[in-house]
């Protein structure tokens, strides 16, 4: 991105305190996920039935679960899973969405009709139940969850990218490339895509929030990440049984999900707003 634009973008973004806060929290979550093995006080899989269902104490920060595992340590490791599922799923959906949107928007005509009607069809499925069905058929695993979320959530991106391509392909610098005899593929990747990506990445930030939420939902229903591997979703599920006796088993993972998703949403909205005046004032 150009220096001047980046600067004014940052100036707009900085004014939005909530978004900056969201970004800070996300950075913290990232840090935690990256260093979980260093900061976790206990092995997340180590059981000690003599210490089961202990309430939060200086020894066990967020208490222990029904098998005596340290909830704090499990949640630290769980953040890895939530974030990787979120990012990998969004990466997959971006690749598909950008490809479909680019082809539809650049070539138009029948390619556009076919692809966009396919998008409409995909959007007709209640996505959570579609994901649930596919995961149930393929068998639940972290990899399947990522892939399935990815291939069921690219439609918004493709619509967005298509719209960007539609307007960019009529811009003079694209006409100029065509007049030079630049091939389609190069026009798409060198001239149009780099100019279309900034808003796409912003939208992707919001998608990460959705993907984290879907993963938690799937794990909660038992179709996501399988125990004993800890994910915020399945810690929540296991704690559900003891919700009246051991509130810390559900409250903390719930809060973690809430705060993370909220932060991604705030960041995404902040980025979007900061990008907007720049688009309007583009010159």
């Amino acid at each position: 991105m150009e220096q001047g634009q980046l600067k004014s973008f940052w100036r707009y973004f900085k004014r939005n305190r909530l978004a900056v806060g969201g970004m800070a929290i996300i950075l913290v979550v990232f840090f935690i996920a990256g260093t979980a093995s260093l900061i976790a006080p206990y092995d997340p899989g180590k059981t000690d039935v003599s210490k089961k269902l202990k309430s939060p104490s200086p020894e066990h920060f967020l208490g222990t679960d029904q098998l005596g595992r340290d909830v704090f340590s499990r949640m630290l490791y769980g953040s890895r899973i939530s974030l990787s599922v979120g990012f990998v799923a969004v990466a997959i959906s971006l690749v598909i969405g950008v490809f479909v949107g680019a082809v539809a928007g650049y070539y138009g005509r029948w390619a556009e009709t076919i692809l966009m009607r396919f998008v409409d069809i995909m959007l007709c499925f209640p996505s959570f139940f579609l994901i649930l069905t596919v995961v149930a058929l393929l068998g639940p695993s972290m990899m399947n969850v990522m892939v399935v979320i990815g291939i069921t959530s690219w439609m918004g991106t493709s619509r967005f990218v298509r719209a960007e391509f539609l307007s960019l392909r009529e811009r003079d610098f694209v006409h100029a490339a065509r007049a030079l005899g630049v091939k389609d593929r190069r026009i798409i990747f060198r001239h149009i895509l780099p100019n279309a990506l900034a808003p796409v990445f912003v939208a992707a930030t919001l998608d990460v929030a959705t993907a984290v939420l879907v993963e938690a939902g799937l794990s909660f229903l038992g179709f996501g990440v399988q125990p004993p591997a800890p994910s915020w979703g399945n810690i929540l599920t296991e704690g559900r049984t003891y919700i009246f006796d051991a509130w810390w088993l559900t409250v903390f993972p719930g809060l973690a999900i809430l705060i993370t998703v909220l932060s991604f949403n705030l960041l995404g909205e902040g980025l979007r707003d900061a990008l907007d005046p720049r688009l309007r004032g583009r010159r």
């Binding site: 991105m1 150009e2 610098f173 007049a179 091939k183």
Partner: protein, 324 residues
Amino acid sequence: MNMSENDFLLQVQHLRKYFYRERLFSSDRKPIRAVDDITFSIRRGETLGLVGESGCGKTTAGKSILRLIEPTSGQIFFKGKNIVDLNREELRRLRPYMQFIFQDPYESLNPRMRVGEIVGEGLEVHRVAQGREKVEKVSEILMKVGLHPRDAMRYPHEFSGGQRQRIGIARAISLNPELIIADEPVSALDVSIQAQILNLLMDLRDQLGFTYLFISHDLRIVKHISDRIAVMYLGKIVEMADGEDLFRRPLHPYTQILLQAIPRLKPSGRTQEGPAREELPFHSLEKGCLFQLRCPHSRERCRMEEPILLDQGEDHLVACHFVS
């Protein structure tokens, strides 16, 4: 095709570009005729000026000729080859010989590419030069348009409007084209810069033997650079003649109004008040001369019958029923 026609680098015949407004619940298929049956030719080395007010279809005509916009119908012979019939790949191979200079230097340069990449892209794509050879070639081209070879490393936003237009010109001449269509290349620039860019274009023509189709709304600029001038009104050519001839004896009422509208330095030289009437929406016209509503000489015949472009001697073509 007879012998004399071989001198023509570009022949445009009955070129049309209609835009259809698409509405979901309406069967209104009346098109907007941006370019409506224009025919002209340009000889090798000649500069043809295309003038007309904004919205008359000049730019659409220019872009259609290079098939940057697909024409609705018509023939375009470039070096005797009808480019309307070419497929994508054939057209792509012919691209180096015909180039376009855009009106808005802020719109026409990719903000995410360095100047060197912008100017050198054609060389790379058509395998004219690569690597170090390309860099040298780009430096050479940049110097030709009055930029510094060092500028190749910079981004477009670091340049002023005039310099950006130089970059656009550098890109257009990078492949040694024969025909250059210049679409209002100076109208987005400060008056002080306009002359510099015009002079650059004329110098390049003299040195490198380009043929120009020079599109502008400014008759003075067009007169300065053109050998012949075509006047466009609402998608049609209404008058076409040698530049000197057109200024000496403008025959179409529209051309006369345009000439009278040119501001003059000497107040005493002021002509009679121009009879230009208010601009009116042209799709309301059912038939007859397109200029009838604004024409001071409009008569019954103009309402019924559309005039065709006829030669009034000395290659001076006019589309008007009442050429005196």
